[in-house]
């Protein structure tokens, strides 16, 4: 293969070539290499994303949608190009169906306050699932408290599988919205979004998908999924912190009120009333996070360049390996299904060691694990625990990292037994 052809072929997840793009994997803790297994919390940015953001700073940083000189026009063009890139990443029909927000959390709050609040009242039901992160639970809880609507919860079985098909009222005449996670940030399970959306659509029930853990790990095609709303964050898919997006069908965006009011989102300002700009700018008050939008687009480029199928297969292999080792250990409780697919996330507990102690000890020898309730109190309550330890894989993890995880468990076992 010629040199140019070799470098044009995408780098495989877990390979040294991919790892070389992430300076974090070269960090050391107490003389050992950092083994980062907390990707569900946040992922790291490859050099290409940082370079794109730095190029913004060097070459075209300027006011977006606010200036008439060439630099401002270039900044605006790059911002809108970033929007278009995210639209392509999600296979939205139009880039105007993409609203840049601060995060998945902000995206969901925008839908709750700007769309759902005006549409529900006593007798109505908003549905969430037992798996939801607080960011896709609390906004709906508040809408219900304010409106008199009921918050319905789609339960899970002991394996963590959503029992949506045996929830008789879910598609009933009083259901106004279903909000569900695509990938559980605790169990790593993948919700049957497409099937659920199709059933909901038959009854005219809109669906919001929390894709925070899915984007960058699985294909997130909003047209194939058919959902009305989808929320995601850049920093969970190798992009920068501080930016996310809300996808919504244009007819939904047309119905939505903005959360924040201010510069850039208004058509006409009068003394007694004002009118809003069209979506998506209606929902982007204030100066946008230009560098982060550019970084977000570069992250989408990185993910698609590496190949979502390859990433998904890589995460699945690592997860299967880790599940096997954890199951063999004998003193580890694994939460969620043994046999259903997982998107790179495993929650577990030692029978005798508190998850915080496990995570602390693991951290001291360079293995970054998460411990706690993972902002999923309703799920923890169902699992009967206050918290779990969690390992979550990313594109730069490799087989040795599973060994490091098991070594951390061995160390904790020794220290605390």
């Amino acid at each position: 293969m010629s040199k140019s052809a070799a470098s044009a072929a995408p780098a495989l997840p877990g390979s040294e070539r991919v790892r070389a793009e992430f300076p974090v994997v070269k960090l050391r803790v107490a003389g050992r290499p950092l083994v980062y297994l907390d990707n569900a919390a946040t992922t790291h940015m490859p050099d290409a994303v940082a370079a794109a953001m730095d190029e913004c700073r060097r070459r075209y940083c300027g006011p977006v949608h606010r200036g008439l000189y060439p630099l401002a026009e270039e900044a605006t063009r790059r911002y809108e190009d970033a929007r278009a890139r995210i639209a392509r990443f999600l296979n939205a029909r139009s880039k105007d169906e993409i609203v840049f927000t601060r995060s998945t959390t902000e995206s969901i709050n925008l839908v709750a306050c700007g769309w759902a609040r005006a549409r529900v009242g006593p007798g109505d039901t908003l549905w969430v699932t037992r798996l939801e992160h607080h960011s896709n639970f609390l906004p709906w809880q508040r809408v219900c408290a304010q409106s008199g609507a009921r918050l319905g919860i789609i339960e899970i079985d002991d394996q963590g599988i959503l029992q949506w098909e045996s929830c008789p009222e879910l598609f009933g005449p009083k259901s106004r919205l279903i909000a569900l996670t695509y990938v559980s940030n605790v169990l790593g399970t993948i919700s049957p979004v497409r099937e659920l959306v199709a059933r909901a659509a038959e009854r005219g029930i809109p669906v919001l998908v929390d894709a925070a853990q899915a984007a960058g790990h699985l294909k997130t095609d909003v047209q194939a999924l058919g959902c009305d709303f989808l929320a995601l964050s850049a920093h969970k898919m190798y992009g920068p912190t501080g930016i996310g997006a809300l996808y919504a069908k244009s007819e939904r965006l047309a119905e939505m009120e903005p959360l924040l009011l201010g510069g850039g989102m208004v058509e006409r300002v009068g003394e007694t009333g004002s009118t809003w700009a069209d979506p998506p700018l209606r929902f982007e008050a204030g100066s946008p996070n230009l560098a982060a939008a550019v970084g977000f687009a570069a992250a989408a480029e990185f993910v698609e360049g590496t190949g979502l199928d390859r990433i998904a297969a890589h995460l699945e292999a690592l997860t299967r390996s880790a599940l096997g080792c954890l199951a063999e250990a004998g003193d580890v409780v694994i939460y969620g299904p043994r046999n259903a697919p997982r998107a790179g996330i495993i929650s577990f507990n030692f029978r005798q060691v508190h998850p915080h102690d496990l995570a602390q000890v693991a951290g001291e020898i360079g293995v970054a694990l998460r411990a706690g309730h993972h902002c999923c109190a309703p799920l923890m309550s169902r699992l009967g625990v206050a918290g779990t330890a969690r390992a979550s894989f990313g594109v730069y993890n490799r087989a040795q990292d599973v060994e490091a995880l098991m070594a951390a468990l061995a160390r904790a076992r020794k220290d605390f037994h």
Binding site: H356, D357, V361, G387
Partner: protein
Amino acid sequence: MASRSVYSEMLLDHYRHPRHYGTLDRADVVRRGRNPRCGDEIEIAVRFDGDRIGGAAFRGRGCAISIASASMMTEAVAGKTTAEVIGLLAELSAQLAGIAGRQTGPAPAWFAALAQIREHSARHRCVLLSWEALAGAIKRDGR
């Protein structure tokens, strides 16, 4: 990044062999401390002897730090006045918060073992859970 383990030998010893674990005869107050974020639950029982701590015991479940801290506390407060106990809690809190306090001589080994968790802010509540429960018991008893 921190290079010293949170889990000193002393801390691990108190975790593996907690002192005064269980109920307390003729307890005057029993008070529970709970950290909903991690599920640590410590119940403190205390017996007063005038204005002094006549005895303290604890039970509950939690991480190694919360258990060890409770164990160290039950040893450290025995015989101390309630004012001294409140003062100890204030000093421990200040140490964890990184606020320099008055140093009157070398700190006891148990205090140093807990204070060195200062670098790990996520575990401060684990250290203070039992102490705050004891302080609550003292105040509730009107001392």
